[in-house]
Amino acid sequence: MPLEVKNVEYTYSPNTPNASVALKGVDLTIDEGEFVGIIGHTGSGKSTLVQLLCGLMEPSEGQILIDGVDINNKETPKDIRKKLRLQVGMVFQYPEHQLFEETVLKDICFGPKNLGFNEEEAKKLAKDAMKKVGLPLKYAEESPFDLSGGQKRRVAIAGVLAMKPKYLILDEPTAGLDPQGREEILAQVQQMQKELGITIILVSHSMDDVARFADRIIVMNKGEKYLEGTPREIFAHDEELISLGLGIPQVTQILKRLQKEGWAVRTDIVELDAAKEEILKAWRARKGGNNHA
């Protein structure tokens, strides 16, 4: 069953002088097993949207449905709503700020225990989650505060994964990490989607990352859904994206440049490997042509 956002509006500090409308009239559906990327300029409402999705805030207008149930409808029993909400795992920007336990393992157990698992089960879930995020088990008994930034981030993600969410939201999970750390974390996230069928929603500022990993992209602008489609469809709107203060993936930029210089290449390609093929094809064609002349 999907995650649905129906005509949602959100205003921060309503009825005060500093009220600010963060979302207006947003409609979208996220299907099970999808990898959705959300992009948008700073302040476009991405974080607000995903916080509504996991029930941390209530929309001012409209509904959020998980598996067809309105999670903010007071008529549904509270524990059912809580259970539904907890199917949506959320990894915040700089998630390492949520670590608090003495050991890595205990911290990861926090979520499963809140779900009602006993000590043993929680530990097992925690260890599984550590493996999934590529965190060696030798760190289990260490203090999470002694780890490096990238490792802390993994502990925090494992803390959410251990709760076995059906939907996993990552709000800029790679902010402030080095390229290798980013690559690893995103690759592991994709693996979870492929192998475990977890639905992934990735908020990112990196066009390259969403282009590579997402099946579908949602572009937010000033609190509204601006575009929605596959990476190829989205990045065909390059001029619009640039005018929104966004960009297009580097490989697409290169292809566009090549086309401008007179190379016969397609420009609707967003993945590195496909771009390589395309350039090689054009290169061979040109060389072939030269040989004939």
């Binding site: 795992g89 915040f92 700020h97 608090f100 926090f110």
Partner: protein, 266 residues
């Protein structure tokens, strides 16, 4: 939400009160408070109410901001008023079982209520018309003479400035951490007292850690920019007394004298 908490809220403006030197304003508030405790009859209360209303009008700040300042204290004010009304002996005008309200009690209650409302309004007026930074600067300058008896004026002012600066940051941070833990299924609302206190640990630990980290970073940044305490430090904007400040001082003195006069004469 937590963010809506306003402490020492400043409302930008360009009224005479906004432009006064902070020392004049602090001084004015002090004189006003002393006067409030000097007066003891109806004439005196009218004097104070009229001068407070005059100042509020002068500041051109909408009345609702003052009401907002009074709101959190409403319970205390009402309680004080009720106790005054019930506890003062005198001519009984209403009685129910062992409870009785006297005429004197009613008047005392009215006076006490007015006093509290004026007290809160006038301090709100000070913070509404003065930025926290300028306010602490004023306090520092006023404490300077006491340095000779060992009052660390500059350090106190610096601490206040930093604390004021970081209140919104900490509130924001608490909000974020609470959300992150709620997403992991933490429950802050149900259970008995012990359970609820325990539920605070996942919020307090990250909050203290980040506050300590922030303090460390701030100290490093201040040192890196050559901060070495108050000695020989100059300011971008020097405070200086202008004609209007002498005027304000004069008015404050007149108010106090008038308050004493109402007590003696009526």
């Amino acid at each position: 939400m937590l963010r809506d908490v306003t402490i020492g809220q400043y409302l930008p403006g360009n009224s005479l009160l906004h432009r006064l030197d902070p020392r004049s304003k602090i001084n004015g508030v002090l004189f006003f408070m002393i006067s409030l405790f000097v007066i003891n009859n109806m004439v005196g209360y009218w004097l104070m109410v009229i001068s407070a209303v005059g100042m509020i009008l002068l500041s051109r700040i909408p009345l609702k901001y003052f009401l907002k300042g009074i709101k959190p204290l409403l319970l205390i004010i009402i309680l004080t008023v009720i106790l005054q009304a019930l506890m003062t002996p005198g001519e009984i005008i209403w009685q129910w079982k062992f409870l009785h309200v006297t005429k004197e009690g009613l008047i005392q209650a009215l006076f006490m209520g007015t006093r509290l409302v004026l007290l809160v309004s006038i301090t709100s007026l000070l913070t509404l018309t003065t930025t926290p930074i300028v306010l602490t600067e004023g306090i520092e300058k006023m404490l300077n003479p006491f340095k000779v008896i060992g009052v660390p004026a500059h350090e106190l002012a610096m601490m206040m400035t930093i604390a004021l600066r970081f209140i919104p940051t900490l509130i924001e941070e608490t909000d974020k951490i609470m959300k992150a833990q709620a997403a992991r299924g933490a429950d802050f609302e149900s259970g008995n007292l012990i359970k609820r206190v325990n539920a605070l640990i996942p919020i307090l630990v990250p909050l203290f850690l980040s506050a300590l980290k922030r303090a460390e970073d701030l100290a490093t940044a201040m040192e890196a920019r050559g901060y070495h305490g108050g000695e020989g430090r100059t300011r971008l904007k020097e405070l200086h007394f202008a004609g209007k400040d002498y005027g304000a001082f004069g008015m404050a003195v007149i108010l106090l004298l008038a308050a004493i006069a109402t007590r003696v004469l009526f």
